[in-house]
């Protein structure tokens, strides 16, 4: 787990090692050894053909030109053409297969990450903003893939190319190779230095840009407040300052980048001039053929591009390492724990028993629930009443096992819930939340949640039962009408009805209903009242109730206060007692809600 959740993300430096990276990604690569092999073959082909071409030129000079043999020259030209075609083919296949391979690996990583994220406990989603998790799934995974293909693989490939050039040069003359490449380590060192500087500036610039962006986003989102509170000119000046700092960092990166190319130029200057110098010397002293010398110079000229590529990619590599690390952090989060001793109830009735349940979110936090004992018979409806912070929501989360309750404290149909598999447990407990999330898609897909086992007839029936069907027909829509992102084209009431219809479609034995407090118009209010009665029919229902009418209809009312059960009974019993319930209920008369 990442230790500093609030630390700015761009500031985190990656400490992941190459080895670790490779080990983490290898399982995904192994799934497609064929593509992997094809890449290796193309690279080998590319390296070999690329070295043959300069050799052919040299051969033409030594044997064609020097010996004035036109025939040799012509046949060399034909061979050159053939090798050239081969080389182009290898280049294409390497580029193409290589990307295919990367895309496949990316697919597997994405799949695994989504599966893993879905298995994480709800606490993870409470403490991590949605945007951050989505970034892991999108940008960071993309960066990770790039890191792998562009980074690890490209560096390996270009390294192969460099080695092949060095070998080809040494075959001509190892002495000349040593003489002309003598200063190579110095230049590589220098460019690494500049590269590091470049990386730092780029990192700074990126950080500044994200500050600038979030400043703009906030100012545009809060434009009313900015204008109403006379902040416009002050905020403009702040923006100009940020913009100027960003410009200066960009200029810094341009300067660092501008240094890179000259260093490479000097490197090629030194190698080629020493090749000329020593080549001329060896030609006179030890009879180095002129064609071989030309071949040598052509090799030298091919040496620079792969080297530059490695340095460039190395830098990218560093930038994406943080992304990779972030993705791995998500993978390292522990999924919800599934106990080993799992069983399933012989029969689902929906009977709930709570035995001295106490709960605290963390050992240093005060307990949220204290010694709760409660027995709910199958089919009973129970209203949970209490002020904000009395423990109602925690109680319900525990029932769904979104948090881990102490062992043997919650029993469903005679089994402690920690021994029932998650999927089974949650299939038998249906939830209607205050603000129900709807997905982009259709009304039907939101009710079935894309579950194949639920027929359209069943969906229609559910809609009729909760009173949504008429509403749809009146507005000229049907089950296949689109639902926009976040249900932007649906009213609060409609989203509620969809959640009700979900319950009827999935037919859970236990219903948990968190009644909405939001103000809705009186017509929808009435429909929802009826729908509430409809969905709780024949199910054990636990309702966090705010409306007096809902509470009155329940078989049992449980009043929670500071994590304890203060009172319980039915409406008239509790009113007669003149205790906390009476107080809450009377205060609610004027505001229609508790």
């Amino acid at each position: 787990m990442s230790g500093t959740p609030f630390m700015s993300e761009d500031q985190v430096k990656a400490n992941i090692t190459l080895r670790e990276l490779f080990l983490r990604l290898w399982p995904y690569c192994r799934k497609h050894l064929k593509l992997c092999l094809a890449v290796i073959l193309s690279v080998a082909g590319l390296a070999i053909t690329s070295r043959i071409l300069p050799y052919l030129i040299g051969y033409a000079i030594d044997h064609g030109v020097q010996e004035k043999n036109l025939q040799i020259l012509k046949s060399v030209a034909w061979i050159y053409l053939a090798v050239q075609i081969l080389q182009t083919l290898f280049q294409f296949s390497y580029n193409y297969i290589f990307q295919l391979f990367g895309n496949r690996v990316l697919f597997y990583v994405r799949e695994d990450l989504v599966r893993h994220i879905q298995s994480l406990p709800i606490q993870y989603f409470n403490k991590t903003p949605v945007g951050r998790i989505v970034t892991r799934l999108t940008n960071d995974v993309a960066n990770l893939a790039e890191l792998f293909t562009e980074g690890v693989i490209t560096i390996l490939v270009e390294f192969v190319m460099l080695s092949s050039i060095l070998v080809a040069m040494s075959l001509i003359s190892w002495k000349l190779t040593l003489a002309s490449m003598g200063l190579a380590p110095f230049f590589i060192w220098a460019s690494l230095k500049i590269n590091r500087r470049l990386r730092e500036v780029l990192r700074e610039a990126k950080k500044k840009l994200s500050t600038l962006n979030s400043f703009v986003a906030e100012n545009l989102n809060g434009i009313k407040v900015i204008q109403l509170y006379n902040r416009v000119s002050r905020n403009r000046n702040h923006f100009f300052a940020l913009s100027d700092q960003y410009k200066n960092l960009t200029l810094g990166s341009i300067r660092a980048y501008a240094l890179m190319q000259p260093v490479m130029n000097l490197f090629s200057a030194v190698t080629i001039s020493s090749a000329l110098y020593f080549g001329g010397y060896f030609h006179q002293e030890s009879g180095l053929a002129i064609g071989a010398l030309v071949t040598f110079i052509l090799h030298v000229q091919d040496f620079i591009p792969p080297l530059r590529e490695i340095l460039d990619k190395y830098q990218q590599f560093q930038n994406s390492l943080t992304s990779g690390e972030r993705v791995f952090h998500v993978f390292d989060e522990t999924p919800e724990i599934q106990k080993e001793t799992i069983t399933r109830p012989s029969q689902w009735n929906g009977e709930i028993e709570i035995r001295s349940l106490s709960f605290q979110y963390a050992s240093h936090l005060p307990p949220v629930l204290k010694d709760i004992n409660l027995k709910i018979a199958a089919g009973q409806s129970v209203a949970l009443v209490g002020r904000t912070g009395s423990g109602k929501s925690t109680f319900i989360s525990l029932l769904q096992r979104f948090y881990e309750p102490p062992e043997n404290s919650i029993w469903i149909d005679g089994l402690p819930i920690e021994r029932i598999p998650f999927s089974l447990l949650r299939k038998h407990i249906g939830v209607v939340q205050q603000d129900n999330f709807v997905f982009r898609g259709t009304i039907a897909s939101n009710i079935t949640l894309n579950s194949e086992g639920i027929s359209l007839e069943k969906v229609e029936k559910a809609c009729r039962q909760v009173g949504y069907w008429d509403l749809l027909q009146q507005s000229g829509r049907n089950l296949h009408s689109p639902v926009e992102e976040r249900g932007a084209n649906l009213s609060v009431g409609e989203r509620q009805l969809i959640a009700f219809a979900r319950i009827l479609a999935f037919e859970p034995d236990i219903l948990i209903l968190d009644e909405a407090t939001a103000n809705i118009d009186s017509q929808s209010e009435k429909i929802i009242q009826q729908a509430t009665a409809e969905v709780s029919k024949g199910r054990t229902s636990l309702i966090i109730a705010h409306r007096l009418s809902t509470i009155q209809n329940c078989d049992l009312i449980v009043v929670l206060d500071q994590g304890e059960i203060k009172e319980f009974g039915n409406h008239s019993e509790l009113m007669a007692r003149h205790g906390m319930y009476h107080q809450l209920a009377s205060a609610g008369v004027k505001s229609t809600e508790i």
Binding site: G64, N69, N103, P262, F402, R426
Partner: protein, 576 residues
């Protein structure tokens, strides 16, 4: 704010010195770079001719000096040219921001904030690339052609035409490929957006997914999208992988032809081996300009498309121009006469024939069903929306004639949705102040809105940071903070737009009691609320219904004469 004329000329003129110096060094670089193969030729020919070693050594040194010179000029053009386009980008960025902050809220309803953001980030960047590397690549390409081509002709005129015969195909192919990859890339991005949207929903709706144990189904659906995206990536890859071979094709075809063409001349001694080597280098050099033409044009086009998006925004004028001259000092009165208002995109008027007056020190309630025009009215009174002339008068002046600053110093509105900035709690509370407030002041107003105890429980109390990287407050807490922020401005007129809707009943009562005690008649209050308890003791209550004032009066008067008010009162448990 709008740039006159073509933005390219505008910025070249603006940063003349840097642009010209950059160009000068670029030309110098290309010129010298064009000459260096001749130095190699000289070296090889010297070796072949068996000239003394000292001559060869001289050539090697000459070569080294040439390359060092090139290194220096290359550095110079990059730095100077970089200054020109980086400064231009900054200028454009600032213009956009400045312009956006003059626009009223109606503009932001019409334009999505995400899209406006992308103007400042993506479009400015792509414009910078157009006038920077786009222009550069074109100039670079053209000058290289004009330098290298004559040299090739001078070296071997009849080789030149034959070896370069396929070269004009390169820019054409590159251009085609760029177009192809661009359209494929767009589909790929669309698919990526779909995939990201799906991820977003999976994470945001995780409670529903888990509650209904739908993880497997969700993963299947995700994989379907993921697979489509992969296919699109592969389609891009198939084009992308062609770029290398196409450029290679230029060099390769040239060299193959050279081998055939040069053979006779070299064997017969008309041309030297050095000439052959130098010529092959020149063919190499001609490929980049050809590629550059293809790239440069498409980059320039893309940047200009970005610029036209920017221009579309810069050209729109604000509906609330700050042209007033009158400075008002102390709020005395606010009068609305015969105000009609209609949103441009709407068919029906939002407000009809509104007429009322508020005197300093009064408490005014504003009630009515959802969509009756309450918020619109407050936006007009604070000049976030443009009112027609002659309808709103503050202290006897028309609202358009008053400077926005002095107007807003007199009125503090607390908008419906609480908006806080990622800054500390105390900074957020002091947002409307031009100076600093004392710590006591901050604590005092936090007590007035009944939030002090909750702030004290936070890890850094009033210094706690809000937002993504800080603490997350509940809707009710945010509302209370924004009220404190409004009260702290010391503006004599405060307008609360249903600002306690997310606060529970008990807390609301506490705050109202505090407000009456602390603010009382010291401030003029305009209170919009759905709960009548918030307005029942107001001096006058306006009942809005479908954009019209149904009635004005006190609580008891309205129960008698306003049906809308009466119904609200009944639902909320008041006895008639």
């Amino acid at each position: 704010m709008l740039i006159k004329g073509h933005p390219l000329w505008f910025y070249i003129k603006k940063h003349k010195a840097h642009f010209l110096l950059g160009m000068f060094f670029l030309l110098l670089t290309n010129l010298v770079d064009g000459l260096y193969p001749l130095v190699i030729k000289r070296g090889i020919d010297q070796i072949v001719a068996g000239q003394p070693f000292s001559e060869i050594a001289q050539t090697a040194v000459l070569f080294f000096l040439t390359m060092s010179f090139l290194a220096a000029t290359r550095y110079c053009w990059r730095v100077f040219f970089g200054r020109y386009h980086t400064q231009a980008a900054e200028d454009l960025r600032n213009r956009i921001f400045q312009h956006l902050t003059t626009m009223g809220p109606q503009f932001f309803k019409k334009n999505q904030i995400g899209e406006l953001m992308s103007l400042i980030t993506n479009d400015v960047q792509s414009f910078r690339q157009a006038i920077g590397s786009g222009v550069l690549v074109l100039v670079d390409g053209v000058t290289i052609i004009f330098i290298v081509l004559p040299l090739m002709f001078w070296l071997q005129p009849d080789w030149t035409l034959k070896t370069l015969v396929f070269l004009p195909l390169v820019p054409f192919l590159i251009w085609k490929l760029t177009q192809l990859i661009f359209s494929r890339f767009k589909t790929q991005q669309d698919k990526l957006a779909e995939l990201s949207g799906f991820s977003q929903e999976t994470v945001a709706g995780i409670r529903v997914i888990k509650s209904f144990a739908q993880e497997e189904n969700q993963l299947k659906a995700y994989n379907r999208l993921s697979l489509v995206f992969e296919k699109m990536c592969n389609r891009v890859a198939s084009v992308d992988a062609l770029f290398g071979p196409v450029m290679q094709f230029g060099i390769a075809s040239g060299t193959v032809i050279l081998l055939f063409v040069a053979a006779d001349d070299i064997v017969s001694g008309v041309a030297s081996i050095g000439t052959f080597v130098a010529f092959q280098r020149y063919i190499h050099k001609m490929v980049w300009p050809m590629t550059a033409l293809g790239f440069g044009v498409s980059q320039f086009q893309k940047g200009m498309a970005s610029y036209s998006r920017i221009k579309d925004v810069l050209i729109q004028e604000t509906d609330i121009p700050d042209n007033g001259q009158i400075e008002i000092k102390n709020f005395e009165s606010l009068e609305v006469r015969n105000l009609n208002f209609q949103f441009p995109e709407s068919q029906t008027p939002a407000l009809k024939n509104i007429q009322f007056e508020i005197k300093a020190g009064q408490k005014v309630g504003l009630v009515g069903p959802v969509g009756s025009g309450k918020t619109t009215l407050l936006h007009l009174l604070t000049r976030l929306y443009p009112a027609p002339r002659g309808t709103i008068w503050v202290n006897g002046h028309e609202i358009q004639d008053i400077t926005q600053r002095s107007l807003r110093l007199q009125m503090a509105m607390v908008p419906q949705e609480p908006f806080l900035f990622s800054d500390s709690i105390s900074e957020n509370m002091m947002l409307g102040l031009e100076g600093e407030a004392t710590a006591e002041d901050v604590i005092h107003w936090a007590q007035v809105v009944d939030i002090k105890n909750e702030i004290d429980d936070l890890p850094h109390q009033f210094q706690s940071e809000l937002g993504e990287r800080g603490v997350n407050l509940s809707g009710g807490q945010k509302q209370r903070l924004t009220i404190a922020r409004g009260l702290m401005t010391r503006a004599p007129l405060i307008l609360l737009d249903d600002s306690l809707s997310a606060v529970d009943h008990k807390t609301e009562k506490t705050i109202q009691a505090q407000l009456n005690q602390q603010v009382g008649t010291k401030k003029t209050q305009v209170i919009v609320s759905h709960r009548l308890s918030a307005v029942e003791n107001a001096d006058q209550i306006l009942v809005l219904n479908q954009g019209e004032i149904e009635a004005i009066g006190t609580h008891t008067e309205l129960i008698q004469k306003s049906p809308t008010y009466r119904r609200m009162a009944e639902i909320q448990g008041y006895r008639a």
